[in-house]
Structures are given as C-alpha cells and as structure tokens.
Subunit: 198 residues, 2 copies
C-alpha cells in the first residue's frame, strides 16, 4: 500500500499548506485591522500573536520579521486600491472624467484607510517600484495610472506625467492626513490640480 500511503501523504501535505496559507492570511488581516484601529505603533508582535490566538514565535514561521508582515499588508493594500481605482476609472468613458474619478478614488482610499496607505507609501522603503521585480500588485496599480493619464498626455512623456500627477496626489493625501492642509478645501485642491492636468 505504499502508493495509497503516498497519496494520502500528499493530500495531508496539501491540507497543511492550505492551513498555513489561511493562517498567513489571518496574520496579515489581523495586523491590518490592528493598525487601522490603533495605529502601527500598536502593532507589536505580542499583541498580534494574542489576536490570532497563537504564540509569538508562530509569526516568525510565516514571516522573516515584523517588517515582512507590514510589507505583506502593503501588498494586499495595493490589490485593494487597484481594484477601487479600476472601478472608478472604467465607470467613465470621457478621459477627463476618468482621470477625475481615479484621483477621487485615490484620495478617498488614502483618507479612509490612512494606516494602510502609510504601509504602502510612507513606511516601507524596500518595496521596489519601477523595476521588473516589483510585485504584480504594484505594477497593476501603476497600470491604472497609465490607463488614465496616457489619453491626456499630449506632447508630454507619459511616464513623467504619471509621476508628477501621482506625486501631487500623494502630497495632498499625506499632508492632509498630517493636518497640514485645510480640511475644508479638499475639493478645491483637487479641482485646481485637475484643471492643470486635463
């Protein structure tokens, strides 16, 4: 019965891998939720372990360290953000409206989920971006910007224009969150920016 045994081995191994993947996801979600509820300072390995109802060292069998957990949260965040930008963009046929919709989606995402946005764009440094080794989630997010900026680029270099427009949105998102801009004028700032890039 060695063949039957080996088949059972394989299925058991598969189940274990599935359970591992689930637990990995559980850790990522718990870290994100904790960060969104109390900020990243509250995300300690002890509190996180308590939340997923495992002991501390279990985290290290899934991730190299705390930074890797934050990075995993960020990558998941890129997937969420891309989906949102995509939905906003494809809801409009006019390039100008599509650009506005994407910008609104971007700023709303940053405002509604500041901890997640921080993990994606402020905290982490070693998430390589423009290179070929970038995670697909990051490349997809960039693709949304390409889709919406390219039709309006005119004579400008598309990638430069994307970088400038994205930087402008990022600046508004972060400075606004840091309470360095007037909260009453979010709409006015966005309108002014869009008037320069449409």
């Amino acid at each position: 019965m060695s063949s039957a045994a080996s088949i059972r081995s394989v299925s058991i191994q598969e189940r274990r891998e599935r359970e591992r993947a689930e637990r990995r996801r559980l850790i990522i979600d718990a870290a994100r939720e904790l960060a969104e509820a109390e900020g990243w300072d509250a995300v300690t390995t002890r509190r996180l372990a308590e939340r997923v109802e495992y002991s501390q060292p279990v985290l290290y069998s899934h991730f190299k360290g705390k930074d890797a957990i934050v990075r995993a949260v960020a990558v998941q965040g890129f997937a969420d953000m891309t989906e949102r930008m995509r939905a906003a963009r494809t809801a409009h046929r006019s390039p100008v409206r599509a650009l506005r919709a994407l910008a609104v989606a971007y700023l709303d995402f940053a405002a509604e989920r500041p901890a997640l946005y921080d993990a994606m764009f402020v905290r982490e440094v070693d998430l390589s971006f423009g290179t070929a080794e970038s995670p697909p989630e990051l490349r997809a997010a960039f693709g949304e910007f390409v889709a919406v900026v390219e039709p309006l680029a005119g004579d400008d270099d598309v990638e430069t224009r994307i970088e400038v427009f994205w930087s402008a949105l990022h600046g508004q998102a972060t400075l606004d969150h840091g309470r360095r801009l007037r909260p009453t004028h979010r709409r006015a700032r966005l309108d002014l920016l869009l008037s320069r890039f449409s």
Copy 2:
C-alpha cells in the same frame, strides 16, 4: 551685603540658564547629526546621551521626551529651510523665475537632508500648521510660499494654490526619496510641474 549677594545670585542664575540653553542646543544638534548620519532609528536616548557626554536622564530635564527632541530638530529645520528658500527666491525679480528657484531650493533641501525633512514633514504630526499657535519658524516657511505663489495666482484662491503646489513638491520629494520615482527624471518632473503653475 544682601543686595550684593542677590546681584551675584542673579548673574549666577543667568550663567546657568545660558549653559542650559547651550546644552539644549547641543542635544538638538547631536540628534540631527546622528539622524542624518545613520537615520532616525539610530537616534536612541542612550546613544544621544553618550554623544553629548551626559547621562540619559539629563535629556529629560530639557525635553519632555524623545518626541520633543525630534520636534525641536524639526523646528530648527524649518528655520534653515526658510533661509534657503528666501535666498533662492530673492535672487530673481521675475515671478516665474522666483517660483522655479524656490521649488529647486525646496527639492534640493529635501534631497540633501532627508532625515531632517522627515522630521519636519513626515514623522511629526503634532506640529500644528495653519493655526495661530504654529511656531514662527513654520509660519515663516509658509510665508516664502506666499511670496512666490501670490504674484502668479491669477483668479485662483492663493492659499489653495499654495497648498496644491506645495503638496506637489512634497509628493515628489518623498516618493523620490523612497525610490519610487525614476532618479534620472527629477528635472523633467520639476519642469512639467512648473509649466502648469507659471
């Protein structure tokens, strides 16, 4: 000789206060230098105390906590940055050239002193900005933006335009430092931005 004694007391007290102020400055400078050399993670109270050749608790007789030290570094950074922007701006009579000079000065400052820039704009949250209680250093920095944006504002609300322009610069500075933009295209990004705000 009580009057002579009291006079001496006063001068002694003045000397002590002077020494205290000097030491306070010493701590701020040491914190900034350490951060610029090895990053803010390396700025621990122990290393900082060792650097100024005092014991750890001395720091707490000058500052409420580590955050207060970072904040003091940031405030000093605003003074430095304002001076630099002012020199760049006043070197040109044409409003368009003045705007460009200020933008270049801003981005150069951020690129050359990223740790200081972080303390000023990324790390600290409780440095109130637009309000009347803002430290004068912050208000002065904002004033430089007013001086350079106002002549070109046209029909736009000046303050909105400042916020948008400043945010765009801030976004380029931080994303560039995080290696999320192409280092080869700094000039192109700045040119494109200026073409929209001149």
